[in-house]
């Protein structure tokens, strides 16, 4: 057997790919990422294109920078995968790449290359900055117009710019491959039905977002070319009306449409906004509430089957809809567009053998979340189908769970820092080092004067100008100058630590200083690039430096905390989700305690169909066979002490109380079915639930007409969420019944059908009847003479249907008693709907952004809700959440002990002053604090602490501080800033 490789290749830059890279690097696997573009987001991902919020974000690129800086992640630009050979565990990949002309890691964004470029193209030069990406400037060459005169290369002070970058072909041995190509939206020609390109009054939602790039949504975002502000708007979800096969929708779209409408209404309160869609298909967490909010804000939602947009003269358009000649004239139509099947599919199937599904997206194996048809090759994000942002992100992490099966031992450890000598007891000497950024700052500001004035400041012992501080030679030089100056506190006035923190810290360490004794202030961002009056700039510059001096004088070296992390795990619930987690964890060699309330494992087997039952049975078998899994049935979790990484859990078993330790806890308590006595349920045997329907269908003779009622126990006042699975389930049954010859009528409010099977269309094709009833007016069921009579409000008219069988699509409801009990024991929140929360706020875009941006494996305090405990899910989606959460857990488990992610800045408590009032415990978003029951003071759990500082702000006692944010420091910095 050949040795398994420990490197992973990620092809593409969708969010799932980024997330996978983060998880793999964190686990210690070296990762190669191939970017087809010449900069980070050249090929935009789904979130950037469809997110209802109009800004890019920092945080997405932070992990990239971190791991690149540490040497764990290699990324290649202008890259293309050429060949894949070998097999899972030991692929040989061949790819080509061409480095960026301007290496944006080395670029200091001085703009000199643009200044000297002699070629003007429109309002820019041939050397230019793409305004699409915020935060940092990406310098690009317009090759069509570039004369290759080389002037730019000459003036580049850091050598970051090289016009001649050879294309290289490289090979690598990797254990697994993750395919993460990016999102592709429809072209203008795909949107002709909506008059796109033919009227100034029709624009894409993403264009609105782009217009709002630097402001977010304002009046200007929707201003017409004439400068007029429109008063009437139509927001159209195009895939609902477009020709089949052109674009596919994911549930981002309904939510995006509604969110856009909300934004318009709140920004322009007198506007009239109508959202056109077929069904409101927001079935994710909180999405139904979002829809209700739109209604509350006066957004008009029109559901229709048919729609087209017609340009009118001037800045007007008419939206024609429905079959009854409905028409609305509006001033602006905003098109919320879907997604096309990936153009990369064909090439990738040639290169590596993956296969497309019926719609042209990458095919994923049944009951698998990310596995393609080829072992060891995984696909994540929009490449494997239209989906919501959360799913994309989950797949990223799930791909760690899947990839690890093919990989050797993780072999990357970050380089150890150089030795530092303690400066305790020395008299404080502050040195200010002003970076001239390769003399580029001197063009804008008199640095010499700044230095002189700095030298005159109180408490400054030394001030000097350094040439640069972010390229290897200048870092070394700066470190030597610091050493030579004899100071023991350093203020480095340069540019943003968001970009260069690692470099700055390294520089300090090379100078033998603990980075906690240094402060990095933003001379570039706060002064040089944003101001122009020279004398005032000097004052501002001094205020920035003074604040740095004030802070650094009060800085202190502190030992880095380390904490143990148990490798045992606890899984609560022995249904599909619990079993899946337990077996995946055990497969990675971790001990699992599995606690099940009932007598047997397997959960709600009654609902399973087809091979699902087999799958669960195989999991039960695996769990029972595994020596690593201890199963307690008829048992409950009674108490928990400790914290992430160190849980002590008491389990009540039939044989008495058992205590187990756990590093992480999975909550897989599942959910139940909504039970009702309405609709004659229970009173008449002909009223059944969808779960009972299959057994009734077997003897379907005599079922002339089956009526299905959707949303029973979902999307109403009591349960303000979509149960997600009922529509697909009802449609599947309807199709089957139809095939057997029964008439089927589905009474619904919105059909939230989704997925590859396209059941909705099939049902329509087969003649299933659909009747929409209003939100607050459920159909009524009466026992008539011989048959059941179902009365429904069909667009204002009472309609009575005779039925032989009524099938209720009952929703998924959390078991409140269990969930509340577990929530109490674990101190883990449940959301407004009674499911376990995984993020505190209900915003349509939250999951995508937050999950990408946080130190996510710790964001939930190492308690991971999976499956139905988290929210309504289908069978395969449940498995996805399990693999996602297991992926997060794998990042942490098995390390034994480690430094907290923010060890440098974690919160601390001055015990003498703390009175144990617990305010800090209440406000800590990470449960990183508890009150010590004996000492009655707050104690910090370092690796839950993300150093946000809310504990510092709430403490009325100054007993709480972060290592770089003590009460004294903040007051001193405030005073110094204003001095």
């Amino acid at each position: 057997m050949t040795e398994k490789k420990s490197t992973v290749l990620i092809y593409g830059t969708n969010l799932g790919g980024y997330r996978a890279a983060y998880a793999l690097c964190k686990k210690g696997y070296k990762t190669i990422q191939l970017n087809r573009g010449s900069y980070v987001d050249e090929y935009q991902n789904q979130a950037l294109t469809q997110l209802p919020f109009d800004f890019g974000w920092i945080c997405g690129h932070m992990p990239q920078r971190l791991f690149k800086g540490l040497g764990c992640l290699t990324d290649h630009y202008n890259a293309e995968l050429l060949e894949v050979s070998g097999k899972a565990g030991n692929f040989r990949v061949k790819f080509k790449k061409k480095d960026q002309v301007v290496n944006n890691f080395a670029c200091i964004e001085c703009g000199r290359c643009v200044e000297v470029c002699p070629v003007t193209v429109g309002d820019r030069k041939a050397m230019w900055v793409n305004p699409k990406v915020g935060w940092e400037n990406i310098y690009l060459v317009d090759w069509e117009n570039c004369t290759r005169c080389g002037k730019c290369e000459e003036v580049c002070p850091t050598g970051a710019l090289k016009l001649d970058r050879p294309e290289e072909t490289l090979e690598a041995d990797v254990g697994a491959i993750i395919l993460a190509p990016e999102f592709e939206g429809p072209d203008a020609s795909d949107l002709s039905l909506f008059a796109y390109g033919r009227s100034p009054s029709v624009i894409l939602n993403s264009e609105t977002a782009r217009r709002s790039l630097l402001t977010n949504f304002t009046e200007d975002s929707v201003r017409l070319p004439s400068g007029k502000l429109p008063e009437s708007f139509a927001v159209v979800v195009t895939p609902h009306f477009n020709k089949p096969g052109v674009e596919y929708e994911n549930y981002n779209l309904s939510v995006t449409a509604v969110d856009r409408a909300i934004r318009i209404r709140t920004t322009l309160p007198s506007s009239k906004v109508t959202v056109f869609l077929k069904d409101y298909r927001g079935f994710g967490k909180n999405h139904y509430r979002w829809y209700q909010r739109a209604l509350e804000l006066g957004v008009n939602v029109v559901r229709t089957d048919k729609l087209s947009v017609h340009p009118e003269s001037g800045e007007k358009a008419t939206v024609k809809y429905g079959s009854d000649g409905g028409a609305v004239g509006v001033e602006l139509v905003i098109l919320v567009t879907g997604q096309k099947s990936p153009s990369q599919m064909k090439r990738l199937s040639e290169v590596c053998g993956v296969k497309p599904d019926s719609r042209g997206f990458c095919h994923i194996r049944r009951h698998s979340s990310v596995e393609t048809d080829v072992d060891g090759i995984l696909a994540v994000g929009e490449f494997s189908g239209p989906k919501g942002n959360p799913e994309t992100i989950w797949e990223g992490c799930a791909s760690l769970t899947e990839a690890i099966k093919y990989l050797g031992k993780p072999e990357f450890t970050p380089p150890a820092p150089p030795p530092l000598t303690s400066r305790k007891g020395e008299e404080i000497k502050v040195g200010v080092f002003i970076c001239s950024c390769f003399d580029t700052f001197r063009d804008k500001m008199d640095l010499e004067l700044l230095r002189t004035r700095t030298q005159e400041l109180y408490n400054v012992d030394h001030a000097e100008i350094v040439r640069g501080c972010c390229t290897p030679p200048t870092m070394k030089e700066t470190a030597e100058r610091i050493k030579a100056s004899g100071v023991n506190r350093v203020v480095l006035a340069a540019c943003t630590p968001l970009q260069k923190l690692l470099k700055y810290r390294n520089t300090m360490m090379m100078a033998g200083l603990n980075p906690l004794l240094a402060e990095f202030v933003r001379l570039r961002e706060d002064v040089i690039y944003t101001h122009h009056e020279r004398d005032k700039m000097l004052e501002k510059g001094l205020s920035v430096i003074r604040a740095g001096v004030a802070r650094v004088r009060l800085g202190f070296e502190a030992p880095t905390p380390k904490d143990k992390f148990l490798s045992e795990t606890l899984v609560i619930g022995g249904g599909l989700a619990g079993l899946s987690c337990a077996t995946e964890l055990a497969a990675n060699g971790f001990k699992v305690t599995l606690v099940e309330r009932r007598e047997t494992l397997g959960g709600n087997l009654a609902y399973l169909e087809g091979d699902q039952r087999e799958y669960v049975d195989s999991l039960i078998e695996k769990a029972q066979a595994s020596s690593l899994i201890t199963v307690f049935t008829k048992s409950t979790v009674e108490n928990m002490t400790g914290y992430a990484g160190n849980f002590d859990v008491g389990i009540e078993t039939p044989r008495g109380r058992v205590a187990v330790g756990a590093g992480v806890i999975m909550i897989a308590t599942g959910a139940g079915e909504y039970e009702t006595t309405g609709f004659l349920r229970g009173a008449d045997p002909r009223v059944v639930t969808q779960a009972e329907l299959p057994s009734r269908m077997e003897k379907s003779q005599g079922l002339k007409h089956v009526v299905m009622i959707q949303c029973v126990g979902s999307r109403n006042q009591e349960h303000r969420y979509c149960s997600r699975v009922c529509c697909n389930q009802a449609l599947a049954h309807a199709v089957e019944l139809r095939k057997k010859g029964s008439e089927v009528t589905v009474l619904y409010r919105d059909m939230t059908a989704y997925g590859e099977d396209n059941l909705y269309e099939k049902a329509v094709e087969l003649g299933v009847q659909f009747v929409r009833f209003p939100d607050d007016d459920y159909p009524r069921v009466k026992a008539g003479d011989g048959r059941l009579q179902v009365t429904v409000n069909d667009a204002g008219r009472e309609k009575t249907l005779n039925a032989d069988l009524v099938a209720l699509s009952t929703g998924i409801v959390p078991d409140m008693r269990t969930n509340e009990a577990i929530s109490r024991v674990l101190g883990y929140p449940i959301d407004a709907d009674g499911f376990f929360d995984s993020d505190a706020n209900g915003y349509p875009y939250e999951e995508a952004i937050k999950r990408l941006t946080k130190p996510f494996e710790l964001a939930s305090n190492c308690i991971f809700p999976v499956g139905l405990a988290h929210s309504p899910r289908s069978f395969d989606e449940t498995l996805l959440t399990c693999r996602d959460m297991v992926g997060r857990a794998l990042v942490l488990l098995g390390k034994g002990a480690f430094m907290p992610p923010n060890s440098m800045y974690v919160a601390e408590v001055k015990e003498d002053f703390c009175v144990g009032c617990g305010l800090c415990v209440d406000v800590c978003p990470y449960s990183a604090r508890v009150i010590d029951p004996i000492k009655r003071v707050a104690v910090v759990r370092p690796f839950l602490c993300d150093s946000c500082g809310s504990c510092v702000a709430i403490c009325p006692n100054d007993a709480s501080s972060l290592r770089d944010f003590t009460g004294k420091q903040s007051i001193a910095v405030l005073d110094a800033t204003l001095a």
Binding site: N459, D912, F913, K935, R936, V937
Partner: protein
């Protein structure tokens, strides 16, 4: 006998003029003195704007807080390149010197100006009507070398009204021509340097006069009277309980005490917070327990901690919301301790405060 400079100006004006010239001449970076606040109150101020020197009231007969304590907060231990001029009363100056010895602040780069002191009125009288109404009476008393009958108890009993360690001393007590003339006594080179270039008549004389001696004698008598009134000699536990029974535990005596420099008073620290079981034990062993407990422990304990450095400034009595004569008691105990070690707080900068550990055990017997 020290050198003197006499100028033809009233004492307050003369000091203001001196301070102003020191700032304007760049000799000092700022001035620390009592000054008017908002035309109503009076407080210490660090003045840097020469125009604001007009607000300085160096000898205003109230002491809203111990200037020694406030000065120690200002100068602390950090470096300062240029000097400050400071005007303090003798007791404040003594307190400051004690704080220097206790490593709370630095003496260097300060020009300390003080005066012979006629005492001050109780601080609460600052809010009774218009305090300025009392001022002429006060100055008349000073000129006559007599104390004010409504001055604070502590002031009426204070014998250290001639400053130690001042670079310059302004004579006030018994100076009949205070409104027209002011005499600075030069006690150090720094003091001398300050007066360089000032107009006036140079001479030489002693601060101590017949008037100061007379006042000292009157105050000795008053001190004895006060102590007798409180029966300090025969207090015993019952007496102490009688005095401190109404203590509300506000700790303001400690808060304003210039010698109590601790960030967190030991008696407020966690170790003195009682477990519930302690209350159970107390309930078992006696009929009832006062809550919050340990009033006497705090008072006696604080006495142990600070009395050897107590300068008798009287701030503690001044702020007590239930009018306990804290200062009379503390200064009396302090004096006894100080006598034992032959120690006068704030007098000799080089003499470290005596080691008080030996007394700890004795005094602990008092705390019940």
């Amino acid at each position: 006998m020290p050198k003197t400079l006499t100028v033809n100006r009233g004492a307050s004006d003369a000091v203001r003029a001196l301070l102003r010239s020191l700032i304007e001449g760049g000799k000092v970076e700022g001035v620390f003195t009592l000054a008017r606040v908002n035309n109503k109150g009076v407080g210490y101020a660090l003045i840097r704007d020469p125009e604001k020197i007009e607000q300085a009231e160096p000898f205003y007969p109230w002491m809203p807080s111990s200037g020694g304590k406030q000065l120690s907060r200002l100068v602390s231990l950090s470096r300062r390149p240029r000097p400050l001029a400071v005007v303090l009363r003798p007791c404040e100056l003594r307190a400051f010197v004690e704080l220097v010895k206790l490593e709370q602040c630095r003496r260097d780069k300060l020009v300390l100006i003080s005066s012979t002191c006629g005492g001050v009125y109780p601080v609460e009288t600052l809010s009774d009507g218009n305090p300025d109404d009392r001022v002429p009476r006060y100055w008349n008393g000073l000129k006559a070398g007599e104390g004010q009958p409504d001055a604070r108890d502590s002031c009426r009993a204070c014998k250290h009204f001639i400053p130690y360690n001042a670079d310059l001393t302004v004579a006030l007590v018994g100076c009949g021509d205070l409104d027209e003339k002011c005499t600075f006594f030069v006690n150090s080179e720094a003091g001398q340097a300050c007066l360089e270039g000032q107009g006036g008549v140079w001479g030489q004389s002693a601060v101590e006069t017949e008037a100061t001696e007379k006042l000292a004698a009157a105050r000795d008598a008053e001190r004895e009277r006060q102590r007798e009134e409180l029966h300090l000699g025969s207090l015993g536990i019952e007496g102490l309980v009688g005095i401190f029974g109404k203590c509300v535990g506000c700790r303001s005596c400690r808060e304003v005490c210039p010698i109590c420099y601790c960030t967190l008073c030991d008696f407020d620290s966690a170790k003195y917070e009682n477990e519930p079981a302690w209350f159970a034990r107390e309930l078992n062993s006696r009929k009832g327990v006062r809550v919050p407990p340990a009033t006497l422990l705090f008072q006696m304990g604080r006495m142990v901690h600070m009395s050897v450095s107590c300068v008798g400034c009287g701030m503690c009595s001044d702020v007590c919301p239930v009018n306990i004569p804290v200062a009379t008691l503390f200064s009396s105990v302090g004096e006894a301790n100080q006598k034992l070690f032959d120690y006068v707080p704030g007098k000799d900068e080089s003499q470290k405060p005596p080691f008080v550990k030996a007394e700890l055990n004795e005094l602990e017997n008092l705390t019940v």
